[in-house]
Amino acid sequence: MNNKQFFVAVLILIVVAITSFVVAITLGAADISITNVIDAVVFHKTDNLDQSIIIQTRLPRVISVACSGLLLAVSGYLTQLVTRNDLGDPSLLGTNAGSYFMVVVFFAFFAHLGNQYVFAFSLFGAILTSVFLIILAFGKESAGSFKIIIVGTVINSFFMAITNILAINTQQLARVNMYNAGGFSGIDTQYVPVLIGLTIITALFIVTHLRRINLLSLDDGLVKSLGFNPDLNRLRFLIMIVLIQGISVAITGPVFYIGLIIPHICKSIFKGTKASMQVILISLIGIIALLLLDLGTRFIIQGVEIPINILLGVLVGPLLIYVINRKGGSNA
């Protein structure tokens, strides 16, 4: 893919992203006219009920969905590059479950400290699981996807079991349940700025690290000859992944498989594109996909909102099976 094609693709994706953003704000349980939407969003009017619905519930939700879409897709792609593994994804590797576990620990025992500490706990959970995973799955030699996935699966079910036990005794069970469903319906509006901030940091990080992202897919010896330390390079991205995971899980709960499947879709559409271009395309597609999926959770079954993780499992599971079984594909 040459530069011209790349810019055209980015332009189209940005247009689609903005369109789906607008559609996501306009459509919903309450029937709201487009003029009201424009009045509310652009001119910050809250004259009538419809406009305040937009400002108070729909806009925060749609913004957080868009931010999470970017964050999850990017962190998934970076995980795949860092672990050199087609199946690398925080939800398969168990770091998601680790943060989530610490979030529940926080609500069970430390909720009196104040809600802002939930981020510290969630981050700690993500770091803990990552370290654990690195020690277990990466020995001297780089581990194949097989071992990582197995370890991840076990970490997942282990943490989920403890989490459920804790949740039984937690007074804030409703809160925990909201997380369990993993979704954006009950999102706490006071955290939306945090999510926006994280998204901006991530975007800046990507833009300043485009060259280093390309290095991730190169052989270690080659990276050294270019004057970079391959391990330190990986470490930078690892820290970013853990940061994204820890904070986004604390706000939205674990959202599965987006980070796995968006990069795969993107890689099969834009074959042979450099990682630095790929990561930008992936973040845009991530935004679009999660916006549409979130719309789907509201409209597929009339009157019932499907938890987004269930929808993702149904849609993404078959794709996962395809990824595992395609010929000469995964380095399993």
Binding site: L136, I310, V314
Partner: protein, 323 residues
Amino acid sequence: MHKISNQKKLLVLLISLIAVTLISIFLGVQNLSLGELFTFSPKALLIFKLRFPRIITALVVGAIMALSGLIIQSVTGNRIADTSILGINAGAGLGVVIYYSLVDSGLIHGQALLLILAIIGACMASIILFYLAREYGRINNQKLILNGIAIGVVILAFSSLLALRLSYPILNMYTTWTSGSIYGAKYADLIFLIPCLVFTILYMMNKHLIIDRLILGDELAASLGVEVKQEKFKLIMVTVLSVSICTAFSGPYAFIGMIIPNIIRKLFTNVNRFLIPATAMCGSIFLILADDLSRTVFADASVPSGMIVICLLAPLFFVVLKE
């Protein structure tokens, strides 16, 4: 060093199984004294009505889950395979959700239907799994596990989608079931469970020599006169059947099948004549103890035994993996 013979080890396991079973009768929220037990007081009768079937169910389910792990590991030649990681339990689970949905809509209900649906679900899952994992006419081990995990993901998502539509009391029954619980065991269930265990053990013991040879690898087993494909198919069928029956009643118990056989292999010589009964007994002892814990220590919190099992066994998995 003096080596203890396998027979003696088996005897020790048998004695501890009997001891654990007997002691468990006295453990629980309601204490029972020996005197009360033999005078047939109302309390004793109550315990025989509620607690005893629970203990026996734990015994049967523990044994079958552990055995299924042993067989799957022998057939696939993979030490960390078991029916739960391969998504077979999830398949049975899908059958169970469908059953609950049917009950919810007031169409039909009945134990037999529950069993049939669970068996169909587990069979479908395993057929898809082994179809996908085939490569050049034989099973690719890594593909088997990865596909199993992926199939588990898909089936679980579909099950949850169906569960969304369940109405309250039935949804509650279903969530209790998913966490792995023998809380509501009844004598009626034992009519299915006990024959299932007896048949599985007899069948496996009958085939123990064949399993020994299958471990050596397909070519060697074939040269020793084993009809590899047929025997593997039969063994997997029996495992899938017994596991789906257990899962239908007690929920998916993860890790018992994965870990227990590996512990037993450490303790016994690698001969299935000993491995099979030892694994079954060890699985029983373990699940009875886990259920005792959920009944006594965690009684107030009503923590299901399935979660206790995971918490106890998951750390051991990493020990197994390290080897």
